[in-house]
């Protein structure tokens, strides 16, 4: 039994060997650097055990960048394979694995953690809070996501990658057509990360509801906080559905149940329904925070209040509600009756109305403004036309009979990349450039930022615009190769050139980050962009406790009002002395818990139930240990606060 396992345990293939070597070298590199500079203790004390929302946010962003690299490499491999017809760069099997991991990683391990990272960094500061509601749980969220992502990526070198698409439709992903650990990695990796996401949703919701600074009513919250609130609600109602879908398929694969089987009365279509009942709200989970970022940035760089604030709030709520009643549009062509398709077609088109309202409000936020074209604003501006192209083709896809011609074609691929890159990724870049000074104390370089922006914009359109056309020519998604003579070849070559352009463009960002850490001027004001919300009222980076005095809010755009209000007296805090600040203790347990989950789920992937059981027992042991821990908090003394404030010139 054992030799058999080991034969199949390590994946073979030249690119895998290269990856193996790179992984080992990188790990050795990290270990030796940490040892040489004696940084192990620092790493453990300052980062791995932290419960500080800002540090957790940064770790989310770092991990998401690593995943961006992985998913991007997958994308480049796909585009290389498709550059010319009848190419043999990748085999069918290999290509199938690559597009599966590309999609899964980009949505679940890149887009979502990137946004959750930005929420962690900015949201508590924007509401004037000292941390999220449950800092310890926040660390658990991060480590379950992190180890879920690691587990999923491990499939690349141990056991084989999943290869049934990120949608993992049964019966293709079922035990009959897909034996082996690959698909198990998908199920367990996503389930682990999903736990963390659900916890984040609960955490952010309670934070926004209960921890706002005095005076910050709901209708005075920054738009990014509104989008966090609504995203959290979406997470809370959508993610349990994913948990159920993944668990049911896990039972089918590991224990021979027949929920989604072709035989024994199972129903493959149940998977499709459950997957998309989660999947469509998921799309809005990754776009609403980007909307929020956009609202912050356009207001700031136009020097204006957000146009139509109540309508912006209302439209987000409408979008969130509609997102739960459109899931069938992912499978109009699956035999539903005319009435069902009509309902879901029209409900999908309805989303265009609140989205349109948002776009016009953004445009009119610039009206009578004073627009500064800094890098965050460039990304935010590019978001609008790109997202509109994606949105318009989205409306076209909502027309059920026409969707019969677009479904599963590259037209669809083009559409959702316009939404997910033009929307989410542009939003994320905008947010990163915008909040970079708040995270690290310096702006990223503008010139390199513009290089990054323009090369990415051009390459992005070069990659995905031709996809609309090639889709109408009949090219379907997930084809590992195609014959010549169909008119697809030139367009595919263009797309590949564009994809590599995007890859090169990202190196500008990388160079920018390195350059800025070394040479960029430090921001000592705390208010790098003449900002409007409370995060700019504290130092950059913010101290552990965020605000020495909790700010008091009298209007929207609280910090703008503090700076420019005619009636400034109301903000004059009576020079009352600082009071000790109560903060949660760091803990290594969330990290250990994530690791125990990782061991357990790795065991389950290979159906080694002993390993799985031991890991789970460790998880429960750690939970019990926590239950008996009563010494969970500490105070920051007045002297320490005075010292910190003095160092940053704010005493």
């Amino acid at each position: 039994m054992l030799p058999h396992y080991f034969n199949h345990l390590f994946v073979t293939g030249i690119d895998i060997y290269i990856a193996d070597v790179l992984i080992i070298l990188t790990s050795l590199g990290i270990v030796s650097v940490l040892t040489y500079f004696k940084k192990w203790k620092w790493l453990w004390r300052e980062w791995l055990t932290t419960v500080d929302h800002k540090k957790i946010g940064i770790m989310y962003i770092l991990a998401a960048f690593a995943m961006f690299f992985r998913g991007g490499m997958d994308g480049l491999m796909m585009r290389t394979q498709l550059a010319v017809p009848n190419n043999h760069f990748l085999s069918a099997q290999h290509y199938d694995e690559v597009f599966t991991t590309h999609g899964t990683i980009m949505i679940l391990f890149m887009a979502m953690p990137m946004l959750i990272g930005l929420i962690n960094v900015a949201m508590p500061l924007q509401i004037g809070a000292r941390d999220v509601a449950f800092p310890y749980l926040n660390a658990i969220s991060f480590w379950t996501f992190f180890f879920g992502a690691m587990l999923f990526n491990l499939s690349f070198v141990i056991g084989g990658s999943p290869d049934a698409g990120w949608t993992s439709y049964v019966p293709l992903a079922g035990p009959h057509f897909n034996p082996g650990p690959g698909e198990n990695y998908y199920l367990f990796g996503l389930n682990l990360a999903g736990l963390g996401t659900l916890a984040s949703g609960i955490n952010f919701l309670v934070t926004v509801i209960r921890m706002r600074a005095p005076g910050m009513t709901l209708m005075r919250m920054p738009m990014f906080v509104w989008s966090t609130l609504i995203t959290s609600i979406l997470i809370i109602f959508a993610f349990p559905v994913l948990t159920v879908a993944l668990s049911l398929l896990t039972f089918d694969r590991l224990f021979g149940s027949h929920i989604f089987s072709m035989t024994h009365g199972g129903m493959p279509m149940m998977w499709v329904n459950l997957f998309w009942i989660w999947g469509h709200p998921e799309v809005y989970i990754v776009i609403l925070p980007a909307f929020g970022i956009l609202s912050e940035i356009i207001g700031t760089f136009s020097g204006k209040k957000l146009f139509g604030y109540p309508a912006m709030v209302g439209s987000q709520i409408t979008i969130a509600f509609l997102s739960f009643v459109v899931w069938v549009h992912h499978f109009f062509t699956m035999g539903a009756g005319a009435a069902v398709n009509s309902f879901f077609g029209v409900s999908t088109m309805l989303i265009a109305i609140p989205t349109g309202v948002k776009v016009f409000n953004w445009l009119f936020t610039m009206y009578k403004g004073k627009i500064r074209f800094n890098t965050p604003m460039l990304w935010a501006l590019a978001f609008i036309p790109t997202f509109v192209v994606g949105g318009m083709t989205g409306v076209m896809l909502a027309i059920a009979p026409a969707d019969y011609q677009y479904h599963n074609s590259y037209f669809l691929i083009a559409h959702f990349h316009y939404m997910l890159i033009g929307g989410t990724v542009f939003g994320v870049f905008a947010g990163l450039y915008y909040w970079w000074p708040k995270m690290f104390g310096m702006k990223l370089n503008e010139r390199l930022g513009r290089w990054h922006f323009w090369t990415f914009m051009i390459s992005f359109n070069l990659t995905f615009l031709p996809m609309y056309l090639v889709g109408l020519m009949g090219m379907t998604r997930r084809m590992y190769t195609y014959p010549p003579g169909l008119g697809w070849s030139h367009l595919n070559m263009l797309e590949t050139i564009g994809a590599f352009g995007q890859g090169i463009s990202m190196t500008f960002m990388l160079i920018n980050i390195v350059w800025s850490f070394k040479y960029a001027e430090r921001d000592v004001t705390g208010d790098a962009w003449d900002g409007r919300a409370l995060e700019w009222s504290t130092t950059s980076p913010a101290p552990e406790y965020n605000f020495a005095h909790v700010p008091v809010v009298y209007s929207r755009d609280a910090f703008w009002d503090m700076k420019y209000s005619k009636n400034k007296e109301k903000y004059q805090v009576k020079e009352k002395p600082y009071r000790p600040i109560h903060m949660p203790n760091n803990s290594g347990r969330p990290f250990l818990m994530g690791f125990a989950f990782f061991i357990s789920f790795f065991g389950f992937v290979f159906e080694w139930y002993l390993v799985g059981g031991i890991g789970l027992a460790a998880v429960f042991y750690l939970m019990f240990q926590r239950s008996f821990e009563y010494n969970t908090d500490h105070y920051i003394s007045v002297e320490e606060i005075e010292h910190t404030e003095a160092v940053t010139g704010r005493s």
């Binding site: 309670v206 509801i209 349990p240 159920v244 929920i259 009365g265 199972g266 019990f624 239950s627």
Partner: protein, 208 residues
């Protein structure tokens, strides 16, 4: 009290019930309510799956043939009673009477254990008759739905045991009161889910 007092546990606001009296306590209770909302979504999906598949017996035993009325009625009574005694424990907690609170808490745990034991023997009986999870889609959905509830109950029992030790150690404080209250919310929630299982799975299965 044997643990250090700090701001998470004080200042205690006497105008509200003890479990809500600290900032930390009221945040955690709100968070737990939201978690229960998510858990409702989870169970809804499992119920939906069961309802869709409950007639797909694939020649195997049907619900009517399988379910044993006295068995599931006894399980129901055990769990309903445990929910009641759990309520009594919280009631005593609010009257600041530690001994009776612990007493009812123990009764709750024992009733819960009785429920789990009955469910395990019920499952074992079905499996012994060849009605296991691989037999048909109906049985797969049945075992997963009812088993998920049973797992929740089992976790609840371990949780309540851990809390029992803390009540004995620390008595009734703002922290232990919050912990007890949250666990009781969970327990009542599982009771409500069971009512649906009782109706949708057992009663409807027996009637149709």
């Amino acid at each position: 009290m044997a643990y250090p007092i700090d701001a998470h546990h004080a200042p205690v606001d006497p105008s509200v019930p003890l479990e809500y009296s600290t900032e930390d306590g009221s945040l955690k209770i709100l968070g737990f309510w939201i978690f229960l909302a998510a858990d409702i979504v989870l169970f809804s999906c499992l119920f939906a799956t069961y309802i869709v598949l409950h007639n797909n017996t694939y020649g195997g035993p049907t619900a009517q043939q399988l379910f044993d009325v006295p068995g599931f009625v006894a399980e129901t009574l055990l769990l309903l009673t445990s929910s009641f005694t759990c309520g009594l424990a919280i009631f005593e907690m609010h009257r600041n009477r530690l001994q009776p609170m612990i007493g009812w808490w123990i009764v709750t745990i024992l009733l819960g254990m009785g429920f789990v034991a009955m469910e395990i023997s019920e499952f074992a009986k079905y499996v012994g008759e060849g009605a296991n999870i691989t037999r048909s889609a109906f049985l797969s959905a049945f075992f997963i739905l009812v088993g998920t509830h049973g797992t929740h109950v089992t976790i609840g029992i371990f949780w309540m045991i851990a809390l029992l030790i803390q009540f004995i150690r620390y008595g009734i404080t703002a922290v232990t009161a919050r912990k007890a209250f949250v666990a009781s919310l969970y327990w009542h929630f599982l009771d409500a889910v069971w009512i649906f299982i009782f109706t949708v799975v057992y009663l409807s299965g027996k009637v149709s």
